[in-house]
Amino acid sequence: MSSHDAPEPFATLPVAPKPALRRFHQARWDEEIVFELSRPGRRGVGVPAPDAPLVELPEAVARRTPPALPELSQNQVVRHYLRLSQETLGADFNIDVGQGTCTMKYSPKVNDSFARDPRVAALHPLQPESTVQGVLEIYWRLEQILKEISGMARVSLQPGAGSAAIYANIAMIRAYHAARGEGHRRDQVITTMFSHPSNAACAKVAGYEVITLMPDADGNPDIEALRAAVGPRTAALLITNPEDTGIFNPRIREFVELVHAAGGLACYDQANANGILGITRARDAGFDLCHFNLHKTFSTPHACGGPAAGACGVSEALVPFLPGPVVDRVAGDRAGGSFTLTAPERSVGKIRPFLGVTPNVVRAYAWVMALGAEGLREVAETAVLNNNYLLARVARIPGASVPWAERRRVEQVRYSWQQLAEETGVHSEEIGIRAADFGVHYWTSHHPYVVPEPFTLEPTESYSREDLDEYAAILAHVADEARKDPEFVRGAPYRQTVHKTDPVTLDDPAQWSPSWRAYLRKHGAKRPG
């Protein structure tokens, strides 16, 4: 038989059609904690002994004992972390629309290459300014862009994001009133139930009494409650818009004006800015302060609670209080000017060490420059379109509902499985866990649950229509399973790395262990099963 006549090796094999949903199974490696892999003397790199004498460290900074780091070979380290990476449903791994309020957009990988570039990564924060002009210029340029986006007079990139940026805001508010001699009597901060809870928490940490407004019948914060709350003790309103429901408050200017009339400041938490970039501006609505989370809206990775970068913008009156240092452009030999670090006149100081989280600032700058002004607006419009497309899909799933349904949403929606839960006894957390068997996940809501049986989806601009269809199909499938076999859904997950974890170990200070040392102290040397 000539080779011409040979059958295709696999031509006769039946090809299974692709299932409607993925036959996903998460990896399960039973991987030890890195400290448990440690063996004395094991090393990744054999460093040769120096042939020149070492500079002696001052006695004060020399360690007396070596650090308690795990001792492993290089391939063990690579294998360990690759395995762990397979045991997550990370942002680059799934259709990551389920972390509503987190804006889990795709972060282009090319931006990582800029952040890893030795001209950024190898800098020391204490280098002389003249040797870091390029990075300072990036800080300055990003500030100019963020000023334009927010309408604010100046923006500091020094704080971290999220709670750190909110804390920077409240510190500025406190300093502002103190400078006017009103600090002692303005001891109340107003926020809303659907604003990010860090607003209430940071105000409390800063010593303020916190008054929270509940939503009204339309899902907006209750303006009548605001009228009842404002007064001579009001220091500020800390508010998100759109709130975590995805509803844009059309009376936001009235909110600001009511607070201003009482002598308070209005502070805009722009954690949910992804659907309004290039469309509305904080200063145009009258806000005195605002902050962006560069790790959300401006496409730098979330980093699992790691170093996020915040951007705090303020009106002219609050510029002297900004956290510093900030970067100023001054006349100099360098083309385009020289750049120098300055501390604002009455700065609240540093929120993070040094001048900020430089890798994230570089990524955000690269992202904005790649898009341009028109591109930023297109991001917002696409995020809104995606969200309302997904809303139309999810709202059709029997058992799912959309509180305040008649309102269109901006960039996210807090949905409810209340009908399904009443019908089947299966709760939102259980639906979410079963969804993980298909390779996606979702987050429910901050506590307390104002929307019963909540789940919060934010599709951003990064996902295609097919992605959103797949996500909605998974939810519809699991809802159907709950109706047909609620016990089966309650027993999920079945295709995950671990079954269920005990939430007590996350909630109980006596048990939670953010480090190995804390783990040994609280639980002893042996891990359970």
Partner: protein, 367 residues
């Protein structure tokens, strides 16, 4: 439309006089001796007036005398008396017999509290029911939020029903110093969630320490020489613990300068105190229902509320969130007193934390 009506004429007697309930002939006699005024008949009449307004054609089928007929006459509704109690006593057996006699109505209204609801439950086969809140404790989910809401709910009844729980004070928990409720069974009620008060829920959904944080806030705000009348509830009990005092679980205790001034006071005694010195009321929210005044704390009558220097309302954020946007409710029985409390109230949710929350009369039409 044929609506049945059963009134437990002694329901609610024990509230103002601090007896925590009205079950048993001896408790009722003591309540009357202490000056309690029967109010179940008037509240049943208010429900019938709301019914008549919306459904003038409705016929009320009821029990002779104080168990229904008096209320029907007061409300001016068309009615038929189909059952007469064996004697003047109006106990649990009378309620059960009346339910049997009214088994074929479209909807059975009953005016009472949780004890009456249990009697209705125990009566066996029964039509759909709807409670007119008239008892001291109204923890069950089968009650409308107010008499007017019961009448409106009956008028709007289209045959669709839902299950509602009958609960009553958990006596074991009560003896142990708690204020929990025990489930006794379920009845079918009109499927109109907005008008139902919802079953009382406990405070356990809140994170540990929430009640203690609220208690710290209350104690920190207490002024020397000022008296504080602490209403019933797990949250106010925590205020007592923060002061190092053991309070009456279901009663109203008055404290001043860190000591109990008077324990388990009646409405009359509370009025005397409030008239004679600066007194603030400290009230907790009934979980699941949102009642602040008029359920289990009838000592805070309209005249007492008028005499108080102010009231402080306490609830965890979880409790407020679980109301699903429904307002906090007051049901003093006096529209003017209810209106005086309506608006937005600062609910203390923790140490230096509060929520501005809408509060309104339970008789107001809910959305």
């Amino acid at each position: 439309m044929i609506v049945g009506l059963i009134v437990n004429p002694v329901a609610g007697l024990g509230g103002e006089v601090a007896l925590k309930g009205s079950d048993g002939a001896d408790v009722q006699a003591r309540a009357l001796a202490l000056g309690a005024v029967p109010r179940a008949r008037a509240r049943a009449a208010a429900a019938l007036r709301a019914l008549r307004l919306r459904r003038p054609d409705a016929v009320v089928r009821t029990v002779a005398g104080p168990m229904g007929e008096d209320s029907a006459l007061a409300a001016g509704v068309r009615h038929e008396v189909v059952h007469r109690p064996a004697g003047p006593a109006t106990g649990a057996a009378d309620t059960r017999a009346a339910v049997a006699a009214l088994a074929d109505v479209d909807l059975l209204l009953f005016a009472g509290g949780d004890g009456t609801a249990r009697d209705v439950l125990d009566a066996g086969p029964r039509p759909p029911v709807l409670g007119v809140p008239a008892g001291v404790k109204v923890y069950s989910g089968c009650f409308a939020v107010s008499p007017a809401a019961a009448g409106a709910g009956a008028a709007a009844f289209d045959g669709r029903t839902a299950e509602a729980e009958v609960v009553d004070l958990d006596e074991e928990a009560h003896r142990a110093g708690g204020v929990g409720a025990r489930l006794y069974g379920t009845v079918r009620v009109p499927a109109a969630r907005a008008r139902l008060s919802g079953r009382k829920t406990g405070s356990s959904a809140a994170p540990p320490g929430s009640a203690e944080s609220i208690a710290r806030a209350v104690v920190a705000a207490m002024r020397p020489g000022t008296a504080y009348a602490l209403g019933p509830g797990a949250t106010t009990l925590a205020v007592g613990r923060a002061l190092g005092l053991e309070l009456t679980p279901l009663g109203v205790d008055v404290v001043r300068d860190g000591a109990v001034l008077d324990r388990d006071v009646t409405e009359q005694r509370l009025l005397t105190l409030a008239m004679s010195q600066v007194t603030h009321g400290v009230l907790s929210v009934i979980g699941g229902q949102g009642f602040v005044v008029g359920r289990g704390n009838q000592q805070f009558s309209p005249r007492v509320l008028d005499a108080l220097a102010g009231i402080v309302v306490l609830a965890t954020q979880q409790k407020l969130a679980a109301l699903g946007g429904r307002p906090l409710l007051v049901d003093t029985g006096d529209p003017l007193a209810d209106a005086a409390l309506a608006g937005h109230v600062r609910v203390v949710t923790g140490h230096r934390e509060s929520v501005l929350y809408r509060i309104q009369s339970a008789s107001e039409e809910l959305p």
